[in-house]
């Protein structure tokens, strides 16, 4: 393998691992801040115990998110130096703004939050929790504006052999970025609420700390249902944007080869990329693809054959990842809705509680699949229509990229295992003292 492919794999490994931790941070930080606010307002110890219990899990997760985030920022320089030189004028400044305006705040006040339980008043501690939560989500804004530029570059001008900033407002109001923001943050709430619901269900099944976990469960179900609905509904709007601005990605998501009007969606489909067709194509729902892509049954959906082979994304991966994402996105609101319906009598449905324990990985998988669609589906471009991934890689050797990839995968695997072990242990132990 060459340095390009190894760098791509390394970026995938670094990003996907980082994104195991980020979504939980986004959602859980806000939910913990709510618990602390409840404690500051009512003075009921159960809310403090809730915040401390979930906070302990939050910290383990947060640390892994922070340390793996550093790698991401520096990887643009180490492995994608030509990209960095070409679009750094815009992309670099967005990352720098993220660090100064958001990440500083988040990382400074997580220390205050962690060490401040006895030093600060409940109200001040709750404010700290809100600062961490607000800053985490503000981080997401800037990172997604940066990614939005890669997906739908706006506000630049080609000058001096590179893309230079021309209109900052256009860059930060990029509709793609804000669609992505809603999708990712709502996804973060899905991860966090399934996380809380799963662990709470586990304890409720064992009738331990029932007050605390019943309250946690109720919070998770309410917020979770809303979040899953937002993800699904907004996901559809996001799909419209993909169809409009990245038609090749849309076609790859559906393994859609021929340009047609009233495009159907096949429930059963197996792509055959080599022969530019689908091996199996059955159970069509008439016009559904046209509706999904353009909210119009008569709309014409471009097929992959309309794009030169060199301009097509890898179909298999994009197609499968999209199906996983949509499948999970459909299942999640149903699971949450059922829980909401039975919310006053959850003990009578132990099967549901057991299912919720096993459902915890679902939104994680949905997140990873979603990013796979977004990033693999954008190929062969690193910046849509502006720069190809193949032109973006650093002048490094395959040996350098290969050894760092192997080291990173090894290190991350060990860290992931240790982190998972700590999380599971702490989650099972349940709340300790107040």
């Amino acid at each position: 393998m060459d340095a390009l492919m190894l760098s791509r794999l390394q970026f995938a490994a670094a990003t996907m691992f980082h994104f195991l931790f980020v979504p939980l941070t986004l959602g859980l930080s806000v939910l913990i801040a709510c618990m602390e606010t409840a404690y500051a307002r009512t003075g009921k110890p159960v809310y403090r115990r809730m915040a401390k219990f979930w906070g302990k899990l939050f910290l383990i997760n947060f640390t892994l998110g922070v340390v793996t985030g550093i790698t991401l920022e520096f990887q643009f320089g180490t492995n994608w130096s030509r990209y960095s030189a070409y679009v750094g004028d815009i992309f670099g400044s967005l990352l720098a703004i993220e660090a100064t305006a958001a990440f500083f705040l988040e990382s400074t006040f997580i220390g205050v939050w962690h060490f401040g339980w006895d030093k600060l008043s409940p109200k001040a501690h709750a404010i700290t929790a809100w600062l961490v939560a607000g800053a985490s989500n503000l981080s997401a804004v800037w990172i997604l504006i940066a990614n939005g530029f890669m997906q739908n570059p706006l506000g630049f001008v080609l000058r001096n052999g590179r893309a230079e900033l021309d209109d900052f407002v256009a860059v930060i109001t990029n509709p793609w970025a804000w669609n992505e923001f809603v999708h990712v943050v709502a996804g973060g709430f899905c991860v966090a609420t399934f996380f809380i619901a799963g662990i709470s269900a586990w304890h409720l099944l064992r009738k331990q700390n029932e007050e605390l976990f019943a309250k946690s469960m109720r919070l998770a179900l309410t917020v979770g249902f809303l979040a899953t609905v937002v993800v699904a509904v907004q996901g559809h709007m996001h799909g419209n944007l993909v169809a409009k601005l990245q038609p090749a990605k849309m076609a790859a998501m559906e393994s859609h080869w021929e340009t047609v009007k009233n495009a159907p969606m096949y429930l059963l489909q197996i792509p055959d990329e080599k022969n530019e067709r689908n091996l199996v194509q059955a159970l069509p729902v008439p016009s559904l693809l046209s509706i999904l892509a353009f909210s119009d049954p008569n709309a014409e959906v471009k097929g992959l054959k309309d794009f030169a082979p060199a301009d097509r994304p890898p179909v298999g991966i994009t197609f499968i990842a999209f199906r996983i994402m949509v499948g999970i996105g459909t299942l999640m609101p149903l699971l949450m809705l059922f829980g909401l319906w039975k919310r006053d009598n959850l003990a009578s449905v132990p099967t549901y509680l057991k299912a919720m324990v096993w459902a915890m990985p679902l939104p994680y998988l949905g997140m990873e699949a979603g990013w796979t669609v977004a990033e693999v589906g954008r190929q062969p471009w690193i910046v849509q229509g502006l720069m190809r991934t193949a032109d973006a890689v650093s002048p490094i050797t395959a040996g350098q990229a290969g050894s760092s990839l192997v080291a990173m995968v090894l290190l991350y695997t060990l860290l992931g295992a240790a982190g998972a072990y700590l999380m599971v242990t702490a989650a099972r132990k349940g709340p300790q003292d107040a």
Partner: protein
């Protein structure tokens, strides 16, 4: 003008990173020598506990600003120092994780594993940062396309290694002083004594590094042209002397502040010496990256300047507040979070 302002800000961010993360890297490096029992070790983790995360963001910000203001320099520096940088990142990862993971499991094996990660993950970044910056001060064999023609081994030249050892000692002194401020009892006494022993070593190393820089690099060129700039070096020396004097007087906060001034001025000394280059090519001066040929567009620099002028003072203000309120002496088990 904008480029010059950004160059100075770039230097200030690196100086800020060294001053702040320097002490927890130093404490981690000294841990095997200073901690005799479990409580001592936990004291070290907790002495840096509330701060390490916020400190590390200075590195992110310094990296981010390099990217935003001088994208070509960011691209060249980070890809050119590929292996060293990857090592630095991996070391910082295991260091950061060790804070959170170590005390969560009551097993001797688990804890010694993370203690080892903490020490290696503190020592290695100190060393690598020193090696990297010494090499930046001297320059790298950049070709016409600004591609670094050397590898990790090249960086380990005598001047680079001296820079590495100097940084390790400088951070260790800084860390010992911080530990002296926050610890109580035996370990505090050991930290004070370690600072006293490290001080002469740092003095010798800084003099050696300056002398070596004088013969081996162009750093002094700007100073000889503008002698008032020597104030930076005078301040550095004054900071180091103050650290010794206040340490002897038992005024630990002032001693640490002296050490902080010393570290900041050492960083600024190098950065000012480089000006207007960011990355010197040792092959041909015309192939160097300077603030002119590596900088972002004026519009980006202007917007980023606005962002920096608003947010950096805010960051400094709230970090100052955190330091003021969370750096009291660690008296007993009850105060240990890690």
């Amino acid at each position: 003008m904008l480029e010059t302002i950004w160059f100075v800000l770039w230097g200030v961010l690196w100086a800020g990173y060294f001053v702040l993360d320097g002490f927890d890297l130093g404490m981690g490096t000294l841990m095997p020598f200073l901690a005799k029992n479990e409580f001592d070790k936990r004291t070290i983790y907790n002495a840096g506990g509330p701060f390490w995360d916020g400190n590390e963001v200075w590195l992110i910000a310094a990296g981010g600003v390099t990217f935003a203001a001088f994208p070509l320099a960011y691209a060249t520096m980070f890809s050119g120092l590929y292996s060293a940088l990857m090592l630095l990142l991996f070391a910082l990862i295991i260091r950061g994780v060790s804070y959170e993971f170590r005390s969560k499991v009551e097993s001797v094996g688990w804890r010694s594993l993370w203690d080892a990660c903490h020490t290696v993950g503190s020592f290695l970044p100190a060393l690598l940062l020193g090696v990297a910056f010494a090499n930046l001060f001297h320059g790298l064999p950049l070709d016409e396309q600004h591609v670094n023609q050397s590898g990790l081994i090249y960086l380990l030249n005598p001047y680079g290694l001296l820079g590495g050892v100097f940084f390790v000692a400088m951070f260790a002194l800084h860390g010992a002083l911080w530990l002296a401020i926050r610890a109580t009892g035996d370990i505090k006494a050991r930290a004070v004594s370690a600072a006293g022993k490290l001080w002469p070593a740092v003095l010798v190393l800084v003099l050696a590094f300056l002398a070596y820089s004088f013969v081996h690099t162009q750093l002094f060129g700007n100073y000889l042209k503008n002698p008032p700039l020597f104030l930076i070096l005078i301040l550095a020396v004054a900071g180091l002397l103050a650290a010794r004097v206040y340490l002897a007087a038992g005024k630990l906060w002032l001693a640490w502040t002296g050490s902080a001034v010393f570290i900041a001025c050492v960083a600024l000394f190098g950065v000012v010496g480089l000006f207007p280059a960011i990355l010197i090519s040792t092959l041909n001066p015309a192939w160097s990256l300077t603030i002119m040929n590596a900088s972002s567009s004026p519009l980006t620099l202007k917007i980023m300047l606005g962002v920096a002028l608003v947010f950096v003072p805010i960051v400094i203000a709230y970090q100052f507040w955190v330091y003021k309120n969370f750096s009291g002496p660690i008296e007993g088990e009850k105060e240990l979070e890690y």
